[in-house]
């Protein structure tokens, strides 16, 4: 059999996690380098995946399939379409930067060692790698159950990352801070767990239905289900399909997060350190939107179309709502969190507009949002750690003392407000066009967000960076070499993807086409042709 590339891609970070965790207490730095090494190795393999993937070829490529839990109709089954490949690559690209940015985040905890084997640093990096492994495999899975398992399991390491290694630059005292942290972590976990458990019911339902219709044993294999539905073996009753769809969608909507299920995100992002917050929004949450695109639409096309109007409304609300709240925030990280909520609204909007521009844009948006958020939030993190506070009011005139930091921060912000030439613009515009061409009203309202985005980004920049240097900001040093190594490539990537996104879109487009054919949707035709033919008819009469 062929070399199990996908398995290896997921296994490398998993092994790395174990290895890192095993590093003895004294060797903090060694652990860091080891972890970084493994993340880079993952990047190499992810690159190989992308290289071996042939756009426009088979729908799922590099497939692997082994029996796993026959009783549950579960197979260990991997395979990637264009979108999955790109997202795996995204995760693999971002994690090393996350590690570099968080290089010293766990050191604080290392100070007082309550016990012999107290190794926060090892734990921190091991958990990051663990998250990466689980995210990667959930992108690669083509078996609903396999996906679900890791979709759920990744909550645990993420939970420890948020609650255990949280931000110590909060507005309140350490004690209060600890409370806030664990509240945020628990909130994150319970929200997502609740979503996941509802989904579990739906997953079980799916099994029951398939088992009932395919005779005896049910299946979770995505290709098999699609094939069975195509051949008419499998015909879900519309009620069953809708209920199961809702179960799935709920979980993904929590993860994504979609308004009004979003309230865990600001807490989590506010309390987690910037790198962890990046890991959360830029990498982990993408699983939610990805899953909408892959599972909701492909498994339940009819139900998706049935629910689309409501979902569109919710996501439009989310877009505007998130942006408005971002304007109203006093806390830098919470501001960025609400900005992300607005952007997730765009992604979901694009997915359920069900046009090739919308979905292609949404898929591209996942990548771009990942990169841009990483750039902006990481720089914000550097700023916060320097000042020891994340309240906007505590900053001012930083640009005078740390021009480089200010500049990169501005670039990140400009990417967030989707300035042409930077990556997010392309995807955002695609989503808007795609939405507009089917639901003009939604498209227009969503477009309001570009003004609001400009507002919150520039206001944040003005308050923190411009004007006379504020007391307490004199000491802020400009970016260090390590931090430049983090930021520069991200910015380069932003510009590249903004100017020449074709390599990515070429990967994505075939997958989008397949998905659209699953839901039996075609792009609305331009109206002139229609009007022309109409005129022709007129003249014919």
């Amino acid at each position: 059999m062929a070399f199990p590339l996908l398995t290896v891609t997921a296994a490398v970070p998993a092994v790395g996690a174990i290895a890192t965790a095993a590093v003895p207490a004294g060797r903090r730095t060694a652990a860091k380098w080891l972890a970084l090494g493994f993340s880079l190795a993952t990047l190499v393999f992810a690159g190989l995946d992308a290289a071996r993937f042939t756009p426009g070829g088979a729908r799922y490529q590099l497939t692997e399939s082994h029996a796993w839990i026959a009783d549950f109709g579960v197979r260990y089954q991997l395979g990637v379409d264009g979108i999955a490949v790109v997202l795996v690559l995204l995760a693999a690209v971002l994690v090393p930067f996350v590690m570099l940015a968080g290089w010293h985040d766990a050191d604080v905890l290392d100070g007082h060692a309550p016990s012999r084997n107290w190794r926060p640093t090892q734990g921190f990096f091991a958990l990051i790698l663990l998250v990466e492994a689980m995210v990667v495999i959930s992108f690669e899975a083509t078996d609903v159950f396999l996906f679900y398992i890791f979709f759920e399991a990744m909550l645990v390491p993420m939970y420890f990352l948020i609650g255990g290694f949280g931000d110590r630059a909060g507005p309140k005292g350490e004690g209060e801070q600890a409370k806030q942290r664990s509240y945020a972590a628990v909130k994150f976990l319970l929200y997502n767990l609740a979503g996941g458990l509802i989904m579990l019911a739906a997953v079980i339902g799916l099994y029951a239905v398939t088992a009932h219709q395919l005779g005896g044993h049910g299946t979770f294999s995505l290709p098999q289900i699609l094939q069975a539905r195509a051949s008419g073996q499998l015909r879900l009753s519309s009620t069953a399909e809708r209920w199961i769809f809702l179960g799935f969608f709920f979980a993904f909507a929590v993860k994504a997060p979609l308004w009004p299920l979003h309230t865990w995100l600001p807490n989590a992002m506010g309390e987690a350190t910037a790198p962890v917050a990046v890991l959360l929004t830029a990498v982990v949450d993408k699983v939610g939107t990805f899953a909408m695109l892959r599972y909701c639409l492909q498994l339940f096309p009819e139900a998706s179309k049935w629910a689309a109007p409501v979902i569109l409304v919710l996501s439009v609300i989310g877009i505007i709502y998130g942006a408005l709240l971002a304007v109203g925030q006093r806390d830098i990280k919470r501001l960025i969190a609400y900005a992300s909520i607005s952007h997730f609204g765009f992604i979901i909007l694009g997915i359920f507009a069900m046009t090739s521009q919308g979905q292609g844009g949404a898929a591209l948006y996942m990548v771009n949002h990942g990169v841009s958020t990483a750039a902006w939030l990481l720089v914000a993190g550097f700023l916060i750690t320097r000042r020891g506070s994340r309240l906007i009011a505590d900053f001012g005139g930083v640009q005078k003392v740390a021009p480089l930091l200010a500049g990169t921060f501005l670039v990140g912000g400009l990417a967030t407000l989707s300035l042409p030439g930077l990556a997010p613009f392309v995807s955002e515009f695609l989503v808007l066009v795609g939405t507009f061409s089917r639901y003009p009203a939604a498209g227009v309202i969503a477009t309001l967000a570009i003004v609001l985005a400009a507002l919150y980004v520039l206001v944040l920049y003005q308050r923190t960076m411009t004007g006379p240097v504020k007391a307490g900001n004199e000491g802020i040093r400009d970016l260090r070499a390590r931090e430049l190594v983090v930021v520069a490539p991200l910015i380069a990537l932003l510009i590249f993807l903004g100017v020449y996104p074709k390599p990515v879109t070429d990967m994505i487009n075939p997958a989008v086409k397949d998905t659209l054919s699953d839901v039996h949707r075609t792009d609305p035709a331009p109206q002139t042709n229609a009007s022309l033919t109409a005129a022709a008819k007129e003249s014919a009469k």
């Binding site: 005139g397 003009p440 003005q462 004007g467 487009n509 109206q527």
Partner: protein
């Protein structure tokens, strides 16, 4: 040849990249690199122009397809250029004036430690502006459109340590974004209507689309134009934009960027021609802005703000013309070019004055400077004559044509528009004379040294020691030469263009042209214009030339005071938009916490309460446990029997 188009954009882009990424090590050579690359792209432009002149009128359009930008489904946006006469005109204006202003800035920014960054931004602006005028499709145009917005943001806020500058920059960007929103929606409508947004196919099919659609597109494009070109109701940012260094005001907020709106309307002429309603809207916006700017210009004591007002009003002229359709397009562009010369010249002059008056901008503290800075005086004067439309100079040719065309629109509309344009000419004469006189004539009001109470008029952040008196002096050559060149342009350009209407012939293939049948003859228009002009000048002279000008501004009439405050537009925005917005966001923040989040926390709390209550049942007494068991048994038995019963 057509590959040069890419290089045309590429050169300044390269400059921007090098200067911004280069870091401090380029500080010493940075500004020259900037100038060089600007000059290079001007040279390229000139070469292309020569090449274009060599070709027959029919095949003068060059196209060059670089690469496919965003291909998704039916959605194809390419990075592709189209260089026709219209674009060419802009290319020459942008790169020409741009290069001059680069050179000027070398002197003007000599003492700024961030000069390298400044030139980087200038180059970035050139690149973006060229992209805007060279794009062959609306999306690429939009990219350039926002690009110039960014450049203007960066340059207005160049002195970030000044809160006023930072605020002005932010304001400019956000107000522009409102316009951009219109433009982007317009693109969406175009895509859904035509399945493409490249110029050629869209214009080819334009007529086949429903009029309603075209009107919508037209209005949305107009919204975009209003944002970029500071037309009512989105004009409020331009005045504040004067916080930026003067060369920026000259290049971006006078000569080039602010005229992008006019370019957009002219470029989309086909659409507008098919949508009369939209066209009328353009005219109205133009006319209103024309008056608005002029009135504001009369009241400002800050020389740059006065000039900004005039810019606004001049662009109003262009918009008005562009709104007139084929009658006006050519003259809109022609006025745009001449205006580019003399307004840039005026701003540079103003800059030179401020340079000599250690950055004093209040004209009431000038006076009698003509002796101290003769070259500035002469060039500024020529620019002045040009803008008020003194016979023979550039402004005369272009503006009169617009006024004439306005009348030529015919019907009552024609009369109204024409009248407004004519009146505008008079006011222009008035406020420009005012500026001229207050600055260069009369007795000098800049001694003794500025008292503390004048601090507000001094730009904050720049400390003024009572003791260092302004010692007016002529600016260095590197600054004066560009001024001279521009002055020459503002004297002769208009004339050259009008020699057997060369300009009309030049642009006609792109924009189309038709002589409207004017109810009034050219002679009559000219005469009328000259009359109002004379009146305006005379009034101004009477007010400021003969009588001494008070150093502190008199309270003035209600209109004056309103005009000083940009006719209360900012106050309106503040009350309605800013305050309202703040309240909205604040209440939303509260709701998010109490309602959306509260619901969840509430559920958790209620579960906890239920749990606490159920706990009480577990009271530790064996006998009560036994009761629950026996009770349970009874219930179970009963239930089972019931199941059988039903």
């Amino acid at each position: 040849m057509d590959h040069l188009i890419g290089a045309l954009v590429g050169a300044p882009l390269l400059g921007a990249g090098v200067l911004l990424a280069g870091g401090r090590r380029l500080d010493r050579a940075g500004h020259w690199i900037g100038c060089l690359l600007a000059a290079v792209s001007f040279a390229l432009g000139a070469a292309l122009f020569a090449d274009m002149l060599g070709k027959p009128t029919g095949q003068r359009t060059l196209t060059s397809h670089l690469f496919s930008w965003v291909p998704v489904g039916g959605f194809r946006a390419d990075v592709a250029f189209q260089l026709d006469q219209l674009s060419m005109t802009f290319v020459l204006l942008i790169t020409g004036v741009g290069t001059l202003i680069h050179i000027y800035s070398v002197g003007y920014m000599a003492h700024d430690e961030n000069r390298r960054r400044f030139f980087g931004y200038l180059n970035l602006f050139l690149a973006a502006m060229l992209l805007l005028v060279l794009a062959n499709n609306y999306l690429l145009l939009y990219a350039g459109w926002e690009g110039v917005g960014l450049a203007s943001y960066l340059l207005i806020g160049f002195w970030q340590h000044k809160p006023s500058a930072a605020t002005a920059a932010k304001k400019a960007f956000i107000v522009n974004r409102v316009g951009d929103m219109g433009l982007s929606i317009a693109i969406m409508v175009l895509f859904t209507t035509f399945g493409t947004f490249s110029f050629a196919p869209v214009f080819a099919h334009a007529t086949s689309a429903s009029q309603a659609k075209l009107t919508v597109v037209g209005l949305l494009l107009l919204l975009g134009a209003c944002g970029k070109s500071a037309q009512v109701p989105l004009q409020s940012w331009l005045g504040d934009a004067m916080e930026g260094p003067t060369p920026v005001s000259a290049l971006i907020h006078a000569a080039t960027m602010v005229t992008a709106g006019v370019y957009l309307v002219t470029r989309s002429g086909v659409i507008f021609n098919a949508a009369p309603t939209a066209q009328l809207a353009v005219c109205v916006v133009g006319a209103v802005t024309l008056m608005f700017g002029a009135i504001v210009g009369c009241a400002k004591d800050d020389i740059k703000k006065a000039l900004a007002g005039s810019t606004m009003s001049q662009i109003g002229y262009m918009m008005l013309a562009a709104g007139l359709g084929p009658i006006g397009y050519v003259f809109a562009i022609m006025h745009l070019v001449t205006h580019g010369f003399f307004k840039a010249g005026l701003f540079l002059g103003a800059g030179s004055v401020m340079h000599g008056m250690n950055d004093e901008v209040d004209m009431r503290k000038y006076g009698g400077l003509r002796g101290y800075m003769p070259i500035t005086y002469v060039t500024f004067g020529l620019g002045y004559l040009a803008i008020i439309g003194f016979p023979g100079l550039s402004g005369f040719w272009s503006k009169d044509k617009i006024i004439e065309a306005a009348f030529a629109k015919g019907g009552t509309e024609g009369w109204i528009l024409g009248g407004v344009a004519l009146l505008g000419a008079g006011i222009t004469a008035y406020y420009m004379t005012r500026v001229m006189v207050m600055t260069f004539f009369g007795e000098r009001r800049w001694q003794p040294a500025p008292e503390p109470d004048t601090a507000p008029s001094v730009e904050p952040g720049i400390e003024v020691h009572p003791g260092d008196l302004p010692h007016p002096h002529e600016s260095p050559k590197v600054m004066t030469i560009p001024m001279i060149v521009l002055a020459v342009g503002s004297v002769f350009a208009g004339g050259l263009f009008s020699i057997n209407s060369a300009f009309v012939k030049w642009l006609q293939p792109v924009t189309g042209h038709s002589e409207g049948h004017s109810p009034v003859t050219t002679g009559e228009v000219t005469a009328a214009t000259l009359v109002v002009l004379a009146v305006g000048v005379a009034l101004a002279w009477a007010q400021y030339g003969r009588a001494p000008v008070p150093v502190t501004a008199p309270r003035g009439s209600l209109l004056t005071r309103a005009a000083r405050r940009d006719l209360l537009q900012d106050d309106f925005n503040h009350v309605v938009l800013v305050r309202g917005g703040e309240h909205l966001t604040r209440s939303l923040v509260y709701l998010d916490h109490s309602l959306v989040d509260g619901a969840v926390n509430g559920t958790a709390a209620s579960v906890g309460g239920l749990s606490a209550r159920l706990r009480q049942v577990q009271n530790g007494y064996v006998r009560s446990y036994a009761v629950s068991m026996l009770g349970g048994t009874a219930v179970l038995v009963a239930a089972t029997l019931l199941m059988r019963a039903v």
